[in-house]
Symmetry: none
Subunit: 111 residues, 2 copies
DNA sequence: GCTTTCGTCAACCGTTCGGTTGAATATGAT
DNA sequence: ATCATATTCAACCGAACGGTTGACGAAAGC
């Protein structure tokens, strides 16, 4: 359990990996497409994806020659709960977040 | 902001440091007392405390020859809010989401 | 004063991390 | 069959990590 937190927080400590997770929020992606926006070798991205997979934050499924990466947000729950234990701050500052979301959904309907 | 998250998550990725934070949940503590339950040199604990301080997760104040360590749970907000973003499964515009987070956390964004 | 306690600093050590390159392995397309 | 695409593997690199030890400075105690 402690090892889970180790792996989760360590995985989240890298900006490239956080960016990857954010990209996967939109949709599942192939490894090559994940790598595309980064100025870094495919092998490096492959390693980052392996770390995210080991932490359980994503899953990878090979279909044909393409390996699809899928966000597994449930893996964040343990870490989130741990942090809530320190919650002198509000669990979620949801007021602002919801206002943000409403503005978002109202203005940008392009997708 | 990205650097803040880097530092926060990296600081949280070590079980010793998480244990220290948990101890400080109870009360402020002197460095020596923090080190006491660990089977590790004082210097090592001192380094861990420096990392936690750099991440803003604790503050240290020297009174006399004793340096007191105090939990600063607000520093967890940035990380917590970031993770909450993965709990909401609306198709969010992520650029706007980033801007939202920056506005939310603007107070602690070091220059 | 001298000594003890508190804490950091500096140098070192082995391991892990984040990246590179080049070769290797599958699978798909022609 | 051949060629191209998708992805990983293996070896390597420099930097950072987590720990140790020993010396050091600053504040308290006797």
């Amino acid at each position: 359990m402690s090892e889970t937190l180790d792996a989760t927080f360590a995985a989240l400590a890298d900006p490239t990996r956080r960016a990857i997770l954010t990209m996967l929020l939109e949709d599942d992606m192939a490894v090559t497409d994940v790598a595309d926006p980064f100025e870094m070798s495919l092998a490096a991205i492959s390693k980052h994806l392996a770390i995210l997979t080991r932490a359980g934050l994503i899953s990878q499924e090979k279909r044909g020659r393409v390996k699809w990466c899928k966000l597994e947000p449930d893996a964040l729950r343990a870490a989130s709960v741990w942090m809530q234990g320190f919650g002198q701050f509000e669990p979620v500052n949801l007021d602002a977040f919801e206002r943000f979301l409403e503005g978002e959904l109202g203005s940008d309907t392009a997708t």
